[in-house]
């Protein structure tokens, strides 16, 4: 039974890290059917006997992971190596090729082994997390990886669910349990799950151990919101739904413990099924490099062919006649065959143009950059004590090329903490902090928070900075009292008091929790509730209100009310809700108050706060009685019960008296708006992809300044059908093109318009637009025939927000941009729902330091704060890209300069594959003489100080446009290398042809020539690296001078008598160094070669600097920003800091009215030599700043008012509370409600949900809902 049911259980995290082969299929988007599983997966749980069998299966060792080894271009070298053993072909000793090859392979192997080791370590960390498994009737600690299907495990409060579980029982009544699914879908509200009644009684271990039910359910799939199965137990069947399931990735909240039966484990869990496949990521430079290596290889073959033909001709014309002095080899019978052999010989000699050490050097440089990321103190989060971590060491330079950032919202942009920040009570606004920047100020900069010590029940963690509000409460201001009374009564929060005075609130949404906690601290403590009463401590006096009705929230009503009877017997309705709805339902007498409150609301909204309006209304007994009657009827109605209830509710929620408004801050992570502003300035487009609701997402969009009131328009696409979505997208495009600024002719593009045309039209769009698209619309927009339209529209917008998207949709969006935009994408997220997107994007970033580490495990980089992204990209990424490009340019240059000399020499040595240099020089050139200086440059180089790259985000653009290393740059390097090689050969040739030594003997012997050319080559490439190195640290000095010193040391050692005496046949150059290098002519030749090779480079760079300076040239030196005097205060988040004195408001920069508006997507900075980049740049920044400034200050545009009743609130708890089901009451008390409570409240809850979610793309819309 067990064998059939379980299949193989693999370690959990292994799947995440599995390295699939290159070129494996991409993201599997459809539902997956595991081939191992039978269509219907039987899960059973037996008693001890079967358990043992299962454990044996569990203990099965995972297959040993194989090490990645083969490198892209090794095969060529292997082949060459074999050729080198054929005597007729060899022209080099075996070691000239083998030594570098072995070295390269060894270093690569060591590096990969270390990588794997660390990956295993982090896997083990997860795999060894402990969970309590019920084995043989007792709970035992078992590591996660040993948990397998059919186990019963116990979860405790705030624990992560380790597998997909069937909830059996919990500490709460009726087998209820609360979970938070932020990891899974990004929704922040709490959700409730319930065990099926028969199992909910299995509370103690002994009974659970005897449980032998069998679950038959669907095969593993990726649908987070659906589950269907049946439990067979005690000869009866029980249907199972998603409502009974705890999915992996959820966190148990407000529930002391619960027991669950593992249904899916490891890779079969819905979470893992959603996480997409791991792909082997490579950078674009990598791909380019491979292409170039192939080209070089082609070039090599060409040269080989040319020289082989030369050889054949030479042998035919001269060689045949020269046979008296040098007969042909026995094997060679014709000039043609000789040419053929010489082809292979030349391939071996010239193979150094395809540098073996390139790959390993690139790896070493990336490793160095990764360590810099790990070591960066400025990316260390003190609070969470987590440093940034580069989890892969192969993607660093791509960080400097990112064009699109896809960000998760919850946990990434926001902290998922709601804070009661401001309120307006009867026309007076409280909560303003003296700091001008308000909520932007760091906590430390604020004055002392308000002291709530008068209130023993206050929550210590609650902080409020405006003492006047507390004064008003203490003064006994009736409005203020009523305000907080409302907050303490009108909600669906449950309270728990473990010890006297220790209150815990179980809030369905964090917004509500924040409001009730605020009321609690201001002296209106919600203490406890029963289905019929609410007890509140009002300024220390316990008052019990009779709860008459809860008029629950839903998406249409956007408000909730309670009707309570106070101890005096007055009936009052308290209502809180969205301003747009509530302000229309107020009593006309409050007009004046209304306008002040509206002003306050606008102000709050402008600051990105979530607002709620509070109102109350007195009801008289008669009216209430009559209304209650109507409500009862409506609730009993069979058809259109919802509508009827809604109209009954609407009737009573009228003519209310305005109390005030609250403003809740959805706490952003530190520095988010600044980071987004800075990244936007760096031409990086940021898309937010969230599973959360549209309102929440839009609100966050505003508060982190992605959306601003200055935007021309924000398009919202919410269509449910293909046609609607298409129409909405089309309208959006038309509007963009019709706008008065548009350059185009304004004609709407026909639908079958080619994407190229679309781009050209839409790139001319003026004005700022934003796009908000819903998950179900996105499902249509991502279909093959519409995806291009969607993409073009979205890319023309400054900001894009996708809400209600499933994890797989996130990946699809990323994939779409990746595929069609040819741009580098970066995905950042914290939760398990971001894993697929993190894996799909070119670069995945995980937010670490959170409880879940799914995202981190799948990511390439991890750190704990969104704001570190700016440093990762603008500093580390930029430098990495710059260094890598400089490195590659130089590397190709030096190898061409080195190798091409052989080509020229071929024309003078009968194409006989004679090398110019000593074989040891060839062996050591790449690995000793020239490797370290360029490595040092690749690791340490900096063109501008790091502060500058934050101040001038435009410096990031060359990476995006791929300007520093592309095919053109490559050809320039190659040309320079060939130029150098020509001079390197022909100048010594010209000198040596005639000259003699100063003692009259011959100068032009082969060995002297070899030494002269080699020496001048080493000197020239050293000088060149000196020129390329922009940032000379002690290490650079050491390596460059050291390399030269080592060259001469080895040269003299190799040419020494001692070595010759030992191996006369190996060290044939004896005495050469001292004899050759003692000649003035030789040194004059070397000097001349160096001058001629280097001077043009210097001249060219100088002219480029004067005529067409790059931005980095103008800002790198001490000349920019007034040098030390104008030092900038704060590099972090300086740019785009609204209101703050921006460092770029440089007094000394002349503002040039004539200077044109900076053209987008141009890196060169125009013709003016005087810091032109700076002038234009500062204008640009100022413009942006002004915009932001305006956006901050200018409030009062009604269109921008974003309020919503407790955004992450969901309907349903009202009924739950009134039913009393979730309350721990004495059975006596409960009996009183038993008759009244509908036994199937959860069913009605589900019905409501399915009604509201009855869209075609239902799955897409509600990611995790039953």
């Amino acid at each position: 039974m067990a064998g059939e049911a379980v299949g193989k259980v693999r370690p959990w995290e292994e799947n995440l890290q599995e390295e699939s082969e290159e070129g494996s299929e991409g993201l599997t988007l459809g539902p997956l059917t595991s081939p191992v599983m039978s269509p219907s997966c039987r899960v059973s749980h037996g008693i001890a006997g079967t358990l043992l069998g299962e454990m044996a299966l569990c203990a099965k060792k995972r297959p040993p992971e194989e090490e990645r080894r083969a490198r892209a271009n090794d095969r060529e070298y292997n082949e060459k190596f074999q050729y080198a053993l054929i005597p007729q072909v060899s022209s080099l000793s075996w070691f000239t090729t083998i030594v570098p090859l072995v070295l390269v392979l060894a270093i690569t192997a060591v590096k990969d082994a270390t990588d794997d080791y660390f990956r295993h370590k982090s896997d083990n960390q997860v795999n060894n997390r402990q969970s309590q498994v019920l084995i043989n009737g007792s709970l035992q600690q078992e590591p996660w990886m040993n948990v397998c299907v059919g186990d019963i495990i116990k979860l405790e409060n705030n624990q992560f669910v380790a597998a997909d579980l069937l909830l059996l029982s919990s500490s709460e009544p009726h087998g209820l349990c609360y979970i938070e699914t932020a990891e899974l879908d990004g929704e922040t509200n709490m959700k409730v799950r319930q065990a099926i009644p028969v199992t909910s009684e299995l509370g103690d271990i002994s009974r659970l151990a005897k449980f032998d039910g069998e679950v038959v359910c669907e095969p593993p799939n990726n649908k987070l919101d659906r589950f269907s199965g049946t439990l067979y137990w005690k000869e009866s069947k029980f249907p199972l739904s998603n409502q009974n399931m705890l999915l992996r990735g959820c966190v148990l909240r407000n529930t002391e413990w619960c027991f669950g039966l593992v249904v899916f484990a490891g890779p079969d869990t819905k979470l893992m099924q959603n996480s997409g496949r791991t792909k082997f990521k490579r950078t674009s430079i990598d791909r380019l490099m491979n292409t170039l290596v192939l080209w070089i290889f082609g070039f090599l073959v060409c040269m080989g062919v040319i020289l082989a033909i030369g050889n054949a001709i030479w042998e035919h014309e001269v060689g045949t006649r020269f046979q008296a002095y040098l007969p042909w080899d026995e094997a060679v019978d014709s000039a043609f065959f000789s040419g053929f052999l010489s082809f292979w010989s030349y391939i071996i000699i010239l193979n150094t143009v395809v540098p073996i050490s390139l790959y390993v050097s690139v790896e070493v440089i990336r490793l160095g950059h990764s360590y810099f990321i790990n070591w960066d103190k400025k990316m260390f989060c003190v609070k969470k004590r987590t440093p940034a971590e580069a989890r892969t060491t192969t993607l660093n330079e791509e960080l400097g090329q990112v064009e699109y950032v896809f960000s998760d919202k919850t946990g990434t942009l926001t902290q998922n903490i709601m804070v009661f920040s401001k309120c307006s009570i009867s026309g007076r606004s409280y909560g303003d902090v003296f700091d001008v920047l308000g909520h932007k100020a760091e906590l430390g900069e604020r004055p002392e928070p308000v002291d709530f010590s008068f209130n023993p029940l206050a929550d210590k963690k609650f902080l409020f900075w405006d003492p006047t509000l507390l004064e008003a409460v203490k003064m006994g201001d009736p409005h203020t009292h009523e305000f907080f009374r409302l907050l303490s009564l009108c909600h669906t929060v449950m309270s728990e008091e473990k010890n006297e005075g220790e209150l815990y609130y179980k809030a369905q949404s964090p917004d509500e929790g924040a409001l009730v906690t605020a009321a609690r601290n201001f002296g209106f403590v919600f203490r406890s509730r029963t289905p019929k009463t609410i007890t509140v401590h009002e300024m220390g006096i316990a008052v019990t209100y009779q709860l008459l009705a809860i008029l629950d929230f839903n998406n249409i009503r956007k408000r909730m009310s309670v009707i309570v009877r106070n101890p005096e017997g007055r009936i009052r309705l308290y209502c809180k809700g969205a301003d747009t709805i509530l302000l229309d339902r107020l009593h006309p007498s409050t007009q004046e108050l209304l306008s002040t409150t509206t002003d306050h609301l606008n102000e709050y909204a402008g600051e990105g706060l979530r607002t709620l309006v509070l109102a109350y209304k007195d009801l008289d007994e008669e009216y209430y009685g009559e209304w209650a009657q109507r409500r009862l009827q409506a609730s009993l109605a069979q058809d259109s019960r919802e509508d009827r209830l809604a109209s009954v509710y609407e009737e009573v929620e009228n003519d209310m008296v305005l109390l005030g408004a609250t403003a809740i801050e959805d706490k952003l992570q530190q520095g988010v708006p600044e980071t987004i502003a800075l990244l936007t300035l760096a031409n990086i487009k940021i898309w937010v992809l969230t599973g959360d609701k549209q309102e929440t997402a839009v609100n966050i969009g505003y508060s982190c300044k992605m959306l601003t009131d200055d935007m021309t328009e924000v398009f919202v696409v919410t269509g449910h059908t293909v046609l609607e979505v298409r129409e909405e997208l089309r309208k959006a495009r038309e509007k963009m093109m019709d706008s008065p600024h548009a350059v185009g002719n304004g004609l709407p593009c026909p639908e079958k318009c080619s994407s190229a045309k679309l781009t050209s039209v839409l790139e001319a769009v003026a004005g700022e637009y934003a796009l908000v698209i819903n998950g179900h619309s996105l499902a249509h927009a991502l279909e093959a025939d519409m995806e291009l339209e969607f993409l073009e529209t979205a890319c023309a917008c400054k900001a894009v927000i996708c809400c209600r998207v499933t994890p797989l949709q996130k990946a699809q969006v990323v994939e779409l941009v990746k595929k069609h935009k040819k741009a580098v994408t970066l995905a950042i997220g914290d939760g398990a729902n971001d894993v697929s997107m993190i894996k799909t994007a070119h670069i995945g970033v995980g937010i670490s330091g959170q409880e879940g580490i799914q995202a981190v495990l799948a990511s390439d980089y991890s750190f704990s704060q969104f704001k570190f992204l700016q440093r990762l990209l603008l500093v580390h990424g930029r430098w990495s890209y710059l260094r890598m490009c400089k490195f590659l340019c130089y590397f190709f240059y030096k190898n061409f300069a080195f190798t091409m000399v052989h080509f020229w020499f071929g024309f003078f040595c009968g194409f006989s594959a004679q090398t110019v240099y000593d074989q040891y020089f060839i062996t050591l050139y790449n690995i000793v003489y020239t490797s370290l200086p360029v490595l040092a440059m690749g690791v340490f180089d900096q063109d501008v100080p790091e502060q500058r790259s934050m101040e001038y985000p435009k410096l990031y653009e060359p990476g995006q446009l791929n300007l520093l290393f592309n095919k053109r740059e490559f050809f320039i390097c190659i040309a320079q290398g060939i130029y150098t090689s020509v001079l390197m050969f022909f100048i010594p040739y010209g000198v040596f042809a005639e000259a003699t030594r100063d003692d009259g003997t011959q100068l032009a012997d082969y060995q002297s020539f070899a030494v002269t050319v080699a020496t001048s080559l080493v000197i020239v490439v050293s000088v060149q690296i000196g020129l390329d190195t922009g940032y000379w640290t002690a290490i650079n000095h050491f390596f460059i001078w050291g390399s030269l010193a080592v060259y001469f040391a080895i040269l003299f050692a190799m040419h020494s008598n001692g070595l010759f005496d030992m191996f006369p046949n190996q060290f044939r150059f004896v005495g050469n160094a001292q004899n050759t290098l003692a000649q003035p002519t030789v040194w004059l030749t070397i000097t001349l070669t160096t001058v001629v090779c280097i001077m043009p480079v210097v001249a060219f760079r100088f002219l480029k600097l004067s005529l067409k300076p790059d931005l980095s040239d103008t800002v790198s030196g001490p000349l920019s920003a007034g040098g030390a005097g104008g030092r900038l205060s704060e590099p972090h988040g300086a740019a785009g800091h609204a209101g703050g004195g921006h460092p770029l408001s440089l007094g000394q920069t002349p503002v040039q009215p004539g200077a044109a508006v900076p053209r987008p997507r141009r890196y060169r900075c125009g013709p003016f030599p005087t810091l032109p980049g700076q002038v234009r740049y500062s204008q640009l920044v100022r413009k942006k700043q002004k915009a932001q400034h305006r956006c901050l200050r200018r409030v009062g545009r009604t269109g921008s008012r974003r309020s919503g009743y407790a955004f992450s609130h969901q309907e349903g708890f009202g009924e739950l509370i009134m039913s009393g089901k979730n309350m721990r009451l004495s059975s006596l008390a409960l009996a009183g409600f038993a008759t009244r409570s509908s036994s199937s409240w959860i069913e009605s809850l589900r019905r409501k949900k399915s009604d509201s979610a009855s869209s075609p793309g239902g799955g897409a819309e509600k990611p995790l809902r039953g």
Partner: protein, 360 residues
């Protein structure tokens, strides 16, 4: 081009905070200059003054050096006589390898219009002889030539062993193809009796070659030392009888042999043959007058369309005639100066515009 020191202060003070939590603090990256990428460094700045002065200086240096080199090259007296065609019948004779034992001599009279002052060196020069072919260069055995292992002929193909299997000494293609013409320079003092110009055959090799790289095998006498080996196929005499006049100049230590064994880098090369022994009439050098080269023509070059010549030359401080280097330096210097002037012009022009730009 200046290395501008920048005000980077390496943060050395490591303020160890109170260790609140061992684990947490240990994760805090070290605040060292290296790890924070704040190493003190100087930035390479291509400043206008730096670059321009560097260019001017280089230009001055190159021009000066070029002129010095040209002048010294001009002071060299050199005379070259190609004798392949002059000794045409000898050349013809040598084309047939079977005539190897026939002696062919050839006399080439010439007139030296000016005295060749100082040390005079005599070279033979070969045109189109490829001493730099890959297989040619390899075809030698250093362990044999250094006298340690006469039988080691491993690398010497195709001239490693004679037909009967005796190892050849010296083996290999290089040794086999040694230049074996004899050139004697005679001076007609009074247009009557020619005087043989005294020539030194020592001091024409590198010290390291003569004393390190080439050694005779140790034995009582040379002929016994080379017992068990045979002479190269093209040679007329065994290696220990190369110089009949000077017994110390035999075997592998023969100067002409050593010179030949240092292979040339290019197919056209000249090798030092003799140097003037400055005695008697020749204390000052070679006086002007009538001379003649008496050449024993042995080395065939017409087979591969090569040519031979004999060269007489004096030297300067930098060695022999080196016009190319002087010219190259002069041209480089001139171009550098031109470049620096035009760069300065561009720079000044832009500077003017900059001033204008600010004034506007």
């Amino acid at each position: 081009m200046l290395l501008m020191p920048q005000k980077y202060i390496s943060v050395t003070c490591r303020t160890k905070m109170k260790r609140t939590s061992k684990d947490g603090q240990s994760k805090l990256p070290d605040n060292t200059a290296l790890k924070q990428q704040q190493l003190p460094a100087s930035r390479l700045q291509l400043s206008a003054t730096g670059v321009l002065s560097c260019f001017f200086a280089t230009g001055v240096f190159c021009l000066g050096m070029g002129i010095i080199l040209i002048l010294s090259a001009k002071s060299i007296k050199e005379i070259e006589i190609k004798y392949t065609k002059i000794c045409g019948n000898c050349a013809k004779l040598r084309e047939d390898a079977t005539n190897f034992d026939k002696v062919c001599t050839c006399s080439i009279p010439f007139y030296l219009p000016e005295t060749m002052q100082g040390n005079v060196y005599m070279y033979y020069k070969l045109y189109g002889f490829y001493q730099n072919l890959y297989r040619y260069i390899l075809s030698r055995s250093n362990s044999q030539l250094v006298g340690t292992d006469l039988k080691d002929v491993g690398n010497c193909a195709p001239f490693s062993k004679s037909h009967d299997g005796t190892p050849i000494a010296p083996c290999g293609a290089i040794a086999n193809s040694i230049f074996n013409d004899t050139i004697i320079l005679s001076y007609k003092l009074n247009s009557s009796i020619p005087i043989k110009v005294p020539m030194l055959r020592s001091g024409i090799t590198w010290w390291t070659d003569k004393y390190v790289k080439f050694q005779n095998p140790s034995s009582i006498n040379l002929s016994s030392a080379f017992a068990g080996t045979t002479k190269p196929p093209s040679w007329a005499k065994p290696v220990y009888e190369l110089d009949e006049e000077d017994p110390g100049n035999n075997g592998f230590l023969n100067d002409d042999f050593i010179v030949w064994m240092r292979t040339a880098a290019f197919p056209t090369f000249k090798k030092l043959y003799r140097r003037l022994n400055r005695i008697q009439y020749f204390i000052e050098g070679l006086p002007a007058g009538n001379y003649s080269f008496n050449i024993t023509y042995n080395f065939p070059v017409t087979r591969f369309k090569g040519e031979k010549s004999v060269v007489l030359s004096t030297l300067t401080w930098s060695g022999g005639s080196n016009l190319f280097l002087g010219l190259a330096y002069t041209v480089t210097g001139a171009v550098t100066w031109l470049a620096s002037f035009s760069m300065m012009a561009i720079h000044l022009m832009l500077k003017d515009r900059k001033v204008l730009f600010i004034q506007q």
